[in-house]
């Protein structure tokens, strides 16, 4: 039988190496996590709406994620941004136009101000029909 007892020196050495290895692994994990930190994405400025055929002529579609109102008029697609030009609340569609629920600004169906406190009309957004006949809206 061989004498395999661990000397104090070897024990200390082994313990130190084990602990340092654990430290190294933890440190690497932290580094990995740091390097993989996801920065907060900027708000999107392009929105894919799918096939243009989903929005038939005469349709008016509220797109809450943008937020915008997409209209398919005779002249083509139009989109009015539903962000109030006063302080940025989302306006609500009404039969006679749009109303801001925050401070009461009103806009006619074309987005022009009919009652303050907003002083600027609602913004028209660029709508693009892609080569695949899909719709895309740009908010910037």
């Amino acid at each position: 039988m061989s004498n395999r007892t661990l000397s104090r020196r070897d024990f200390l050495k082994l313990a130190s190496v084990t602990i340092l290895t654990a430290c190294g692994l933890l440190g690497l994990k932290g580094l990995f996590r740091f390097l993989n930190t996801q920065t907060e994405p900027l708000p999107p400025t392009e929105f894919e709406l799918g096939p243009a055929s989903n929005y038939p002529p005469g349709s008016r579609t509220v797109l809450p994620d943008i937020p915008a109102l997409l209209m398919h008029a005779e002249s083509g697609f139009l989109a009015i941004g539903l962000v109030c030009t006063h302080l940025g609340c989302t306006v609500e569609g009404k039969p006679d136009g749009f109303v801001c629920p925050c401070h009461g600004s009103r806009f006619d169906p074309q987005g022009n101000v009919t009652r303050g406190p907003a002083s600027k009309p609602l913004r028209y957004l660029r709508v693009e029909v892609t080569s695949l006949n899909d719709l895309r809206i740009y908010t910037n």
Binding site: R9, L12, K13, A15, S16, I19, L20, A22, C23, L26, G27, K29, G30, R33, E40, P43, V83, H86, L87, G88, C89, T90, P101, C102, H103, G104, R106, T114, R115, G116, P117
Partner: protein
């Protein structure tokens, strides 16, 4: 010895790393919000997602939290996140209100339509307390008349048309009269920058929130809410109970020059008023204070005043007219009329173009009082939404003297039994 040192050092390092990892894992999963108005990410909702929207005018998706409250928007550590908040839990305290609520599009606004809310509120007599200070200094011979010279804070208002354009800060320790010193120590408790008295019936915030954040509900107080101060609400629908946190809460003792808060909790408006000799018409105890007293009366009109009666002007005839004249009215013809804004913010009445509303002698619309086709008037309570119908003096059997419109004159016939 060197090996022991290496072992202890490596063990300490491991311990440190483990603690750091544990703390990292304890952090909540961040909930981010990018408000439309600022476009800057903030993580406040990570801990505060359960807070109700503060008002329909300040939706969190538009305003976020930091714009009004301050704080470190990207921190997930509570202490760090809260370290730079303005006004603690109350960003409307007058010491920070300009940074929190100001701005041309917000509550600094313009003098037109009285949208300069902060300027008005901070110069109002409820904020300056100038009347009480002038009164006590005059009473004890320190100043020759009742004209206000001092206020709670130093303020200059060159545009003030009241004849008072500045107030020096009132510092009781610099007063030589002992009674005025005592007044300073004991009686500066009911201006808008003073913390409330300790009793829960008096609990309110300071600054704008003293009135616009409801801490008292009629006949009920939510003690748990009061204790946690978690009242996240702004409203223009202000019940009389909120006014009572300063008014109807006790009386001054002129012998001891102290304020003696009442010991009971007034529940019956008519019978529990603190002055037993007070007389009231039904309007004065059925309606809420803001149903009659206008926004410039309560919040000021931007001028500095000496006493409350210099700014209060509503009289019985404002609503009821005189023997010869009906009350003043305005027919809504402009879609931008301010009345529509109020009716939207506090939808107790549905007014439309063409409606005829009561208006005060200073052209402030009573947007909650409409003239009916039969010549009567309907009033919707701004705080409780209750509908009341009333008539005018003209055509009635009233023996009113138009020149005598103080409350005592009308009380001669119309006060209710107490």
């Amino acid at each position: 010895m060197r090996r022991y040192f290496l072992l202890v050092a490596s063990f300490s390092l491991l311990l440190g790393l483990l603690i750091t990892a544990w703390q990292e894992n304890r952090q909540p999963k961040a909930i981010s919000l990018t408000p439309t108005l600022t476009g800057q990410v903030e993580y406040c909702l990570t801990c505060h997602a359960d807070l109700a929207e503060i008002s329909t005018s300040h939706p969190v998706n538009t305003f976020g939290c930091v714009l009004c409250h301050g704080g470190e928007r990207l921190s997930l550590d509570a202490n760090l996140a809260h370290s730079t908040m303005r006004g603690g839990k109350n960003p409307s305290d007058f010491s920070v209100v300009q940074a929190s609520c100001g701005g041309d599009n917000c509550h600094s606004g313009t003098a037109g339509n009285f949208r300069n809310h902060i300027q008005r509120a901070t110069t109002s007599i409820q904020a300056t307390y100038a009347g009480a200070i002038a009164n006590i200094r005059y009473t004890f011979g320190v100043q020759p008349d009742l004209k206000a010279r001092m206020g709670i804070f130093d303020i200059r208002e060159p545009q003030s048309t009241s004849g008072i354009t500045e107030l020096a800060v009132f510092n009781p320790t610099q007063e030589t009269n002992l009674f005025i010193q005592a007044f300073g120590q004991n009686c500066l408790t009911c201006h808008l920058s003073a913390p409330p008295l300790p009793k829960s019936a008096y609990f309110r915030f300071t600054g704008c929130a003293a009135c616009h954040t409801p801490t008292q509900s009629p006949g009920r107080m939510d003690t748990e809410q009061l204790q946690s101060n978690q009242i996240h609400k702004l409203t223009i629908s202000i019940s009389y109970t909120q006014c009572d946190t300063c008014h109807n809460r006790g009386n001054y003792n002129l012998r001891t020059l102290t304020f003696e808060p009442r010991q009971d909790l007034p529940a019956d408006r008519l019978h529990d008023y603190y002055q037993p000799i007070g007389q009231f018409t039904s309007c004065e105890w059925i309606l809420d204070c803001i149903d009659c007293h206008t926004r410039t009366e309560a919040m000021g009109d931007g001028n500095l005043y000496s006493v409350k009666k210099d700014i209060q002007y509503i009289q019985c005839k404002t609503c009821h007219g005189t023997l010869t004249d009906l009350p003043l009215t305005i027919t809504l013809a402009d879609p931008n009329d301010l009345a529509f804004r109020f009716a939207l913010l506090n939808p107790v009445i549905d007014i439309i173009l063409g409606d005829t509303l009561l208006v005060t002698e200073k052209d402030e619309p009573f947007w909650n009082i409409r003239v009916l086709p039969d010549g009567t008037y309907e009033l919707f309570g701004k705080a409780d939404g209750q509908r009341h119908v009333f008539r005018t003096v003209k055509g009635s059997a009233c023996l009113q003297d138009p020149a005598r419109q103080d409350s005592g004159s009308c009380h001669e016939c119309h006060s209710v039994e107490r």
